[in-house]
Amino acid sequence: MAKSSGASFILERKLPALVKHDCRPGFFVDLARKDLGVALELAESVGARTALVREAWKLYGEASAAGFGTLDSSGLLSLLEPSTGKE
Protein backbone atom coordinates (compact mmCIF):
# COMPACT_ATOMS: atom_id res chain seq x y z
CA MET A 1 0.00 0.00 0.00
CA ALA A 2 2.96 2.30 0.65
CA LYS A 3 3.72 1.97 -3.09
CA SER A 4 0.09 2.47 -4.11
CA SER A 5 -2.45 5.24 -4.06
CA GLY A 6 -3.19 4.57 -0.38
CA ALA A 7 0.29 5.78 0.62
CA SER A 8 0.62 8.59 3.16
CA PHE A 9 2.94 10.05 5.79
CA ILE A 10 0.80 8.37 8.46
CA LEU A 11 0.97 5.01 6.73
CA GLU A 12 4.74 5.24 6.42
CA ARG A 13 5.30 6.34 10.03
CA LYS A 14 2.66 4.33 11.82
CA LEU A 15 2.56 1.07 9.92
CA PRO A 16 5.44 -0.64 11.75
CA ALA A 17 3.68 0.08 15.04
CA LEU A 18 0.30 -0.98 13.69
CA VAL A 19 1.66 -4.29 12.45
CA LYS A 20 3.18 -4.97 15.85
CA HIS A 21 0.18 -3.47 17.61
CA ASP A 22 2.68 -1.30 19.45
CA CYS A 23 0.73 1.63 20.90
CA ARG A 24 3.48 3.41 22.82
CA PRO A 25 3.23 7.17 22.21
CA GLY A 26 3.90 8.98 19.90
CA PHE A 27 1.05 11.27 19.84
CA PHE A 28 -1.70 10.56 22.36
CA VAL A 29 -5.24 9.53 21.41
CA ASP A 30 -6.38 12.37 23.71
CA LEU A 31 -4.34 14.93 21.74
CA ALA A 32 -5.69 13.59 18.46
CA ARG A 33 -9.22 13.98 19.79
CA LYS A 34 -8.49 17.53 20.96
CA ASP A 35 -6.88 18.58 17.67
CA LEU A 36 -9.69 17.09 15.58
CA GLY A 37 -12.23 18.78 17.87
CA VAL A 38 -10.62 22.19 17.35
CA ALA A 39 -10.33 21.50 13.61
CA LEU A 40 -14.03 20.58 13.52
CA GLU A 41 -15.00 23.84 15.23
CA LEU A 42 -12.84 25.77 12.79
CA ALA A 43 -14.36 24.06 9.75
CA GLU A 44 -17.89 24.46 11.03
CA SER A 45 -17.35 28.11 11.88
CA VAL A 46 -16.90 28.76 8.16
CA GLY A 47 -19.78 26.49 7.15
CA ALA A 48 -17.68 23.65 5.74
CA ARG A 49 -19.05 20.09 5.68
CA THR A 50 -17.39 17.80 8.19
CA ALA A 51 -19.25 14.49 8.07
CA LEU A 52 -16.16 12.36 7.59
CA VAL A 53 -14.02 14.18 10.14
CA ARG A 54 -16.80 14.07 12.70
CA GLU A 55 -16.89 10.27 12.49
CA ALA A 56 -13.12 10.10 12.95
CA TRP A 57 -13.36 12.48 15.92
CA LYS A 58 -16.02 10.23 17.48
CA LEU A 59 -13.72 7.23 17.08
CA TYR A 60 -10.89 8.97 18.96
CA GLY A 61 -13.43 9.96 21.61
CA GLU A 62 -14.56 6.35 21.97
CA ALA A 63 -10.96 5.19 22.24
CA SER A 64 -10.33 7.78 24.92
CA ALA A 65 -13.46 6.77 26.87
CA ALA A 66 -12.38 3.14 26.63
CA GLY A 67 -9.17 4.00 28.47
CA PHE A 68 -6.83 4.32 25.49
CA GLY A 69 -6.34 8.09 25.84
CA THR A 70 -2.64 7.93 26.57
CA LEU A 71 -1.86 5.32 23.94
CA ASP A 72 -0.42 6.47 20.64
CA SER A 73 -3.17 7.80 18.43
CA SER A 74 -2.71 4.78 16.17
CA GLY A 75 -3.96 2.88 19.23
CA LEU A 76 -7.42 3.35 17.75
CA LEU A 77 -6.74 -0.15 16.56
CA SER A 78 -7.12 -1.34 20.16
CA LEU A 79 -10.67 -0.04 20.05
CA LEU A 80 -11.43 -1.57 16.67
CA GLU A 81 -10.18 -5.01 17.60
CA PRO A 82 -10.08 -5.27 21.37
CA SER A 83 -9.41 -8.99 21.31
CA THR A 84 -6.06 -8.68 19.55
CA GLY A 85 -4.13 -6.72 22.17
CA LYS A 86 -0.35 -6.77 22.10
CA GLU A 87 0.70 -9.91 20.31
Binding site: I10, G26, A32, D35, E55, L80
Partner: protein
Protein backbone atom coordinates in the same frame (compact mmCIF):
# COMPACT_ATOMS: atom_id res chain seq x y z
CA UNK B 1 6.32 27.56 24.09
CA UNK B 2 4.38 24.52 22.99
CA UNK B 3 1.40 23.74 25.22
CA UNK B 4 -1.60 21.39 25.18
CA UNK B 5 -4.51 23.86 24.83
CA UNK B 6 -5.54 27.51 24.58
CA UNK B 7 -6.49 27.86 28.27
CA UNK B 8 -2.98 26.85 29.31
CA UNK B 9 -1.39 29.13 26.71
CA UNK B 10 -3.39 32.05 28.12
CA UNK B 11 -2.25 31.27 31.66
CA UNK B 12 1.40 31.09 30.67
CA UNK B 13 1.27 34.30 28.65
CA UNK B 14 -0.84 36.45 30.95
CA UNK B 15 -0.34 34.72 34.27
CA UNK B 16 -2.69 32.88 36.56
CA UNK B 17 -2.08 33.64 40.21
CA UNK B 18 1.60 34.25 39.39
CA UNK B 19 3.17 36.40 36.70
CA UNK B 20 3.00 35.28 33.08
CA UNK B 21 5.40 35.92 30.23
CA UNK B 22 3.83 39.35 29.67
CA UNK B 23 4.87 40.48 33.14
CA UNK B 24 8.51 40.66 32.09
CA UNK B 25 7.99 41.34 28.39
CA UNK B 26 9.08 44.68 26.95
CA UNK B 27 7.59 46.52 24.01
CA UNK B 28 9.04 45.08 20.82
CA UNK B 29 9.37 41.55 22.21
CA UNK B 30 7.95 38.66 20.21
CA UNK B 31 6.32 35.58 21.76
CA UNK B 32 6.36 32.55 19.48
CA UNK B 33 3.65 30.02 20.30
CA UNK B 34 4.22 26.53 18.89
CA UNK B 35 1.00 25.16 20.41
CA UNK B 36 -1.81 23.80 18.24
CA UNK B 37 -4.83 25.85 19.31
CA UNK B 38 -7.76 27.61 17.68
CA UNK B 39 -6.83 30.55 15.44
CA UNK B 40 -9.47 32.61 17.23
CA UNK B 41 -7.71 32.16 20.58
CA UNK B 42 -4.36 33.04 19.03
CA UNK B 43 -5.76 36.24 17.54
CA UNK B 44 -7.39 37.16 20.84
CA UNK B 45 -4.14 36.72 22.79
CA UNK B 46 -2.19 38.54 20.09
CA UNK B 47 -4.53 41.53 20.39
CA UNK B 48 -4.15 41.60 24.16
CA UNK B 49 -0.36 41.38 23.89
CA UNK B 50 -0.32 44.10 21.25
CA UNK B 51 -1.74 46.61 23.73
CA UNK B 52 1.65 46.39 25.48
CA UNK B 53 3.61 46.48 22.27
CA UNK B 54 4.33 42.74 22.36
CA UNK B 55 3.81 40.61 19.27
CA UNK B 56 2.45 37.10 19.71
CA UNK B 57 2.64 34.83 16.69
CA UNK B 58 1.44 31.28 16.14
CA UNK B 59 3.98 28.79 14.83
CA UNK B 60 2.56 25.28 15.27
CA UNK B 61 4.74 22.45 14.02
CA UNK B 62 4.09 19.15 12.28
CA UNK B 63 6.15 16.11 11.45
CA UNK B 64 5.83 13.75 14.43
CA UNK B 65 8.23 13.02 17.25
CA UNK B 66 10.85 11.68 14.87
CA UNK B 67 10.72 14.94 12.88
CA UNK B 68 11.24 16.94 16.06
CA UNK B 69 14.26 14.84 17.03
CA UNK B 70 15.76 15.16 13.56
CA UNK B 71 14.94 18.88 13.31
CA UNK B 72 12.91 18.34 10.16
CA UNK B 73 9.51 19.65 11.28
CA UNK B 74 7.30 21.88 9.16
CA UNK B 75 6.69 25.19 10.99
CA UNK B 76 3.51 27.06 10.02
CA UNK B 77 3.91 30.65 11.05
CA UNK B 78 1.19 33.25 11.41
CA UNK B 79 3.36 36.24 10.53
CA UNK B 80 4.97 37.89 7.52
CA UNK B 81 8.51 36.95 6.46
CA UNK B 82 10.16 40.13 7.70
CA UNK B 83 8.81 39.58 11.21
CA UNK B 84 10.01 35.98 11.20
CA UNK B 85 13.47 36.69 9.74
CA UNK B 86 15.26 37.52 13.04
CA UNK B 87 14.02 34.24 14.55
CA UNK B 88 14.47 32.05 11.51
CA UNK B 89 17.79 30.57 12.75
CA UNK B 90 16.11 29.46 15.99
CA UNK B 91 13.13 27.97 14.17
CA UNK B 92 15.45 26.21 11.71
CA UNK B 93 16.87 24.27 14.64
CA UNK B 94 13.58 22.38 14.83
CA UNK B 95 12.24 22.67 11.31
CA UNK B 96 13.62 22.53 7.80
CA UNK B 97 10.47 24.03 6.30
CA UNK B 98 9.34 27.43 7.56
CA UNK B 99 6.09 28.69 6.07
CA UNK B 100 5.37 32.37 6.69
CA UNK B 101 1.65 32.77 6.21
CA UNK B 102 1.23 36.50 6.80
CA UNK B 103 -1.44 37.08 9.42
CA UNK B 104 -1.56 35.88 13.01
CA UNK B 105 -3.79 32.78 13.36
CA UNK B 106 -3.05 31.40 9.92
CA UNK B 107 -0.39 29.03 11.25
CA UNK B 108 -3.06 27.35 13.31
CA UNK B 109 -5.56 27.30 10.44
CA UNK B 110 -3.07 25.39 8.31
CA UNK B 111 -1.96 23.14 11.17
CA UNK B 112 -5.55 22.21 12.06
CA UNK B 113 -6.39 21.45 8.43
CA UNK B 114 -3.23 19.35 8.25
CA UNK B 115 -4.23 17.40 11.35
CA UNK B 116 -7.76 17.05 10.06
CA UNK B 117 -6.34 15.20 7.05
CA UNK B 118 -3.65 13.26 8.93
CA UNK B 119 -5.85 12.08 11.79
CA UNK B 120 -8.82 11.17 9.61
CA UNK B 121 -6.36 9.34 7.39
CA UNK B 122 -5.03 7.52 10.44
CA UNK B 123 -8.53 6.51 11.50
CA UNK B 124 -9.11 5.05 8.03
CA UNK B 125 -5.77 3.27 8.23
CA UNK B 126 -6.70 1.70 11.56
CA UNK B 127 -10.01 0.52 10.13
CA UNK B 128 -8.18 -1.01 7.16
CA UNK B 129 -5.64 -2.66 9.48
CA UNK B 130 -8.45 -4.10 11.52
CA UNK B 131 -10.22 -5.40 8.41
CA UNK B 132 -7.00 -6.97 7.14
CA UNK B 133 -6.90 -9.17 10.21
CA UNK B 134 -10.39 -10.49 9.68
CA UNK B 135 -10.76 -14.24 9.86
CA UNK B 136 -11.49 -15.06 6.20
CA UNK B 137 -8.02 -13.96 5.03
CA UNK B 138 -6.02 -13.31 8.16
CA UNK B 139 -3.75 -16.34 7.63
CA UNK B 140 -3.32 -16.03 3.91
CA UNK B 141 -1.15 -12.92 3.43
CA UNK B 142 2.18 -13.73 1.80
CA UNK B 143 5.21 -12.53 3.75
CA UNK B 144 6.07 -9.02 2.59
CA UNK B 145 9.57 -7.65 2.28
CA UNK B 146 8.67 -4.24 3.73
CA UNK B 147 10.58 -3.13 6.80
CA UNK B 148 7.26 -2.88 8.56
CA UNK B 149 6.99 -6.63 8.30
CA UNK B 150 10.39 -7.45 9.70
CA UNK B 151 8.96 -7.83 13.18
CA UNK B 152 8.03 -11.16 14.65
CA UNK B 153 4.39 -10.25 14.18
CA UNK B 154 2.51 -11.56 11.20
CA UNK B 155 3.25 -9.91 7.87
CA UNK B 156 0.90 -7.84 5.81
CA UNK B 157 1.25 -6.89 2.19
CA UNK B 158 1.30 -3.20 2.81
Amino acid sequence: MSLPNDAIVEKIVFGDGGPGLMASARAGDVIVDLSTVSPASTRRLAERAATKGVRLIDAPVSGSVSGAQAGTLAVMIGAPKDVVAPFAPVLRAIGTSLFCLGEVGRGNVLKLLNNLVALTNQAALCEAASASRARPWAKSWPRARARASSSNASSRPW
